[in-house]
Structures are given as structure tokens and as C-alpha cells.
Amino acid sequence: MAEVNTSDSGGGTGGKKGKHQKKRAKKSSTKIDMTPMVDLAFLLLTFFMLTTTFSKPQVMELTMPIKDKNVDSTKIKNSLALTVILSDHNKIYYYGGEFKDTTQLHTTDYSKDGIRKILLARNKFVLDSISIISKEHDNKQITDAQFEDYKAKAQGSRDALFVLVKPDSLAKYGNVVDMFDELSICNVQKYALVNLYPGEKEKIKNYKPN
């Protein structure tokens, strides 16, 4: 369809076949047929119309427990309780089990080698269960719905890690969101956003990690 008329080479390269042609200055007209280009444009347009959706901001779910003074606290095994205290300058202090004094505190940060390593280590039971179920899911031994079901059960089981997130008065909102994000990445489903105990507050205030 595309027709590009260029001037005849005449005696130059055409001489191979020995054409005897009169040298004529042909008026060349370069006309490009645009039909394929427009076809392509429409194709791309239709493709994008059908496949893309307008981008909406993402959200993270947060569920708080009911603010009831009469609710009795659930018992958690000391080895499965982790308290994470978020402080200023992106510092995180953490300790397992019950709080007695500042010698139990360890310091970490939001990097991959920081709090994520701790969470992965402590949540080993859930992560191992989930990796077994994932393998079965990849081998098509269980359906998607079953996979989600087993995953939820593993995350909510009695042997799953329970994390208490305690931001102190200097923490930023972004720190809290990052912490929730790390919990989500490490498959920790049991967590609570709570205040520091009065005793903790005093001791942490003067705590300087060495």
C-alpha cells in the first residue's frame, strides 16, 4: 500500500540489465499512506481502555479492640509475646514476654536486617506452616480458597506470635505504619496497638542504649 516513488536511477545502477532508457527528470512524489499508523493507534487505545483502571490510593486495615474496661485480657505464652516500642529517630526497642527492667531491651531499626529478622525468627511456626501449605498450593493439591483458609488458621493459631506495638510520645505516624507493614510481610496477624504501661514509660525515658 505504501507507495514511495523515487526518481529513476537511469543510467547509473540500472545499467546492469542494460536498459536503454531516456534520461528523464521524473517528478518524484513522496506519499506515505497513514492507514497502518492510525490502525496501530486505535489498537493501542482500545488495549489501554480495556486493561487499565484508574489508580486509587491503597489502604491498610486497622482494627482496634473495643474500649471496654471490663474485657478480660487473653493469656499469651511468654515466649510468644513480643513487645515493640517505637521511639523517635526511627528507633525500635523490643523485648519478649513480660517487662521487668531495661536490661531486657534490645534495639533495632526498620531495615530488612532489623525488626524483620526478629519477627521472622520468632514467628517461625507460622511461617513454616505457611510454606508447607504454599508448596501444596503450588502443586495444585489444594484450591485457592483452601489455601487462604489454611493461611488464616495458621496465622491465628495458638502458636502464632503476638506482637504488642507501643509507640511512645515521640514516635511518628509513619513509624507505626511501617511497623504494621513489617507485621504484614512477616505474616503476623495477631497484634495490638496499645499504650506503654506507666512503669515502662518511666524506665524507657531514661534508657540510653550503649
Binding site: 526518481s7 534520461k23 513522496t30 497513514m34 510520645s169 511518628k172
Partner: protein
């Protein structure tokens, strides 16, 4: 020697299809998109790996980096109803025209005493106002945020009932907190506490998608 005339080529491009395409694209975007409403405050949200999308019918409380609180709720009818209820409680009367203007506004943040003036202002005046506003009051003496949340829920419930009776599709009201990453956690905690006092315990925290 015969004169060899260099042939002059005159390229001519027919631009009609390109123009057609341009008009088509313009028409498509004219019909499918809406203007993004001017937000009074720009919030730098933290990022998370969560991929859940923002639901449609929501009440949004925005907290900027300075700790100012702003409020927004979806639905024109809901907003009109809400403003009337607030007017009754705070003894401010709003004209029908002000109700209409409020219905198409988005996020706002100021004590209710200043709201009437804000509604009557133009876009530019609103912009200058928003730069120095202190946001919706949340202190215990003037906890206006609690009233906005409470009446907002009532207004949304009325709208829900009305829609249900008319046979239209209904969606539950959800609650979103849009906080700046650098905002002090204390003020966000205050907002969450106020929500909990109004018996709301499930929120959506609005974030950007993190690039893993």
C-alpha cells in the same frame, strides 16, 4: 554533457487521520474523567505493601505533618444532611445556597464558627485561608471532630435507608485515616481515640504502594 536535473521531491503528509485521533482522545477523556478536587492540604502518606483499594463510600480524617486535622465525607445528600444537623447543634443557620456549595466541597478543616464564612468564599480566598487554618478542633473542650463523626454517621445512615427504600445499590460507610508520615503519632492516636469513643473500631489507613 547533458544537464542532470536533481529531482526535487516534495513530501506531503496528509494530517487528517492524526487530527481525527486527537479529537477522539480528547472526547474520551472529556467524558470519562472528573477534575480532581482541590485538596486544602497536601499529605505525604507513608508507603505499605498493602494492595487493598480505597472503598467508595468513606469518611476521611486527614492529619497533616503539623498535626492539623481535616474532615471529609462522601455523598452530596449526606453532606447537606450533616451540615444541617451540625447547624442545629451549634445554632448556626445555613442558607440553601450554602448547603449546595458545601455539598460539592471536599476536605475542610476549621472550627465550625468559621465554616459559614469559608463556604461563602471563592477558591482563591479559600486557598489563603487553608494555609493558616488550625484544622478541626479536637481538644476535650471543643471536640468538634466527635460531632462531625457522629452526625456524619447519622447522615450516612439516613442516606442508606433512603437509597435502600428506593431500591438503589447501597454501600456501608467506612472510615479512613489519611496521615502524613511525619505527623506525630500522638495526634493520630487522639483521632483514633475519638473514633473509638464514637464506637468506631475498624479503620482504613491510606498509604502509597511500596515498591518492593
Amino acid at each position: 554533457m547533458p544537464k542532470i536535473k536533481v529531482p526535487r521531491s516534495s513530501p506531503s503528509l496528509d494530517m487528517t487521520p492524526m487530527v481525527d485521533l486527537a479529537f477522539l482522545l480528547v472526547t474520551f477523556f472529556m467524558l470519562t474523567t472528573k477534575f480532581r478536587p482541590d485538596e486544602p492540604v497536601v499529605v505525604d502518606m507513608p508507603s505499605s505493601v498493602s494492595e487493598t483499594k480505597l472503598p467508595n463510600n468513606i469518611m476521611t480524617v486527614t492529619v497533616d505533618s503539623a498535626g492539623r486535622v481535616f474532615y471529609d465525607i462522601d455523598g452530596q445528600q449526606v453532606r447537606k444532611n450533616l451540615l444541617q444537623k451540625m447547624g442545629v447543634k451549634y445554632k448556626i443557620s445555613f442558607t440553601p445556597e450554602e448547603l449546595e456549595r458545601f455539598a460539592v466541597m471536599t476536605t475542610f478543616g476549621m472550627p465550625i464558627a468559621q465554616l459559614k464564612g469559608y463556604i461563602d468564599e471563592s477558591q482563591d480566598q479559600r486557598k489563603t485561608f487553608n494555609q493558616q487554618t488550625k484544622g478541626v478542633p479536637t481538644d476535650s473542650l471543643h471536640n468538634e471532630l466527635a460531632d462531625w463523626i457522629n452526625f456524619g454517621r447519622y447522615a450516612a445512615a439516613d442516606d442508606y435507608q433512603a437509597k435502600k427504600q428506593a431500591g438503589k445499590p447501597v454501600k456501608d460507610l467506612r472510615f479512613a485515616i489519611k496521615g502524613d508520615g511525619q505527623a506525630n503519632y500522638k495526634i493520630v492516636k487522639k483521632v483514633i481515640d475519638i473514633f473509638q469513643d464514637e464506637k468506631v473500631n475498624r479503620f482504613n489507613l491510606v498509604t502509597n504502594l511500596k515498591k518492593q
